[in-house]
């Protein structure tokens, strides 16, 4: 019964990532997309929260949104997997349902 959680807002502007992290259970998948991809970067104020979550949850980030915003894949937190839209579709298929933290 695993959930794919999606977060499309900046963790600095809105509470979406925080609510996602506190309402997701071990073994789930979290996809960062749109302005949510800023949470995937090293050196930010939310890096430790993301790393803590990664101990029990798998975190992904949408490649086209990272590139559009000028973020370097070299600077993404180790262990976050970058996917394209085909990968997003696969994640929606391989998990039972999707929770969009709008």
């Amino acid at each position: 019964m695993s959930i794919l959680h999606t977060v499309n807002k900046s963790p600095f502007e809105k509470n979406s990532l925080d609510e996602c992290l506190t309402h997701s259970t071990d073994g789930c998948a979290i996809l960062l997309l749109e302005d949510g991809v800023y949470a995937a970067m090293q050196g930010t104020n939310v890096e430790s929260a993301v790393k803590d979550a990664m101990a029990s949850k798998k975190v992904y980030a949408l490649g086209p949104d990272i590139k559009l915003r000028g973020l370097s894949t070299d600077r993404i937190i180790d262990g976050i997997e970058v996917v394209d839209f085909a990968g997003f579709v696969d994640l929606s298929e391989s998990n039972d349902k999707v929770q969009a933290w709008l």
Partner: protein
């Protein structure tokens, strides 16, 4: 696998409809079925045929229409949300005494039951919003 898509925001203001479009296109290319795209809240604005984006920008409405044409997509605009926001087809114009319509023929206006039905029948409901 069968997907239902829900879009909560209008074109250009939020990236939600861009993301929804690319997800839908990608799912179709991978051989999945997309049983319905349901436009709710400000999402109803995605169906206006009288938009004119700058020439070097994407045409969000036509893009949806072309995808629907190529894959026989059922694109439904919520009637209650559409009335509040001025998205009108011939039937609505007549019913509400409006002197113009603006919906693109690739979309149809219907009730919220279409969203529930799509969620019941699909394997996954995907929601894109703000």
């Amino acid at each position: 696998m069968k997907f239902a898509i829900q879009i909560n925001e209008g074109p250009y203001q939020h990236q939600a409809t861009d993301t929804a479009y690319h997800f839908t296109k990608s799912a179709l290319e991978k051989g999945h079925e997309v049983s319905r795209v349901f436009f709710y809240h400000d999402g109803v604005y995605n169906s206006s045929r009288i938009t004119t984006p700058p020439q070097d920008d994407r045409h969000i409405v036509n893009r949806w229409a072309e995808l629907a044409e190529a894959h026989s997509l059922d694109m439904v605009v919520c009637v209650a949300a559409a009335q509040r926001r001025g998205v009108v087809d011939d039937g609505e114009a007549e019913r509400n005494g409006k002197d113009a319509t603006n919906i693109h023929p690739a979309f149809r206006i219907s009730g919220l039951g279409q969203l529930i039905e799509a969620a019941v029948e699909a394997d996954r409901l995907m929601v894109f919003g703000d």
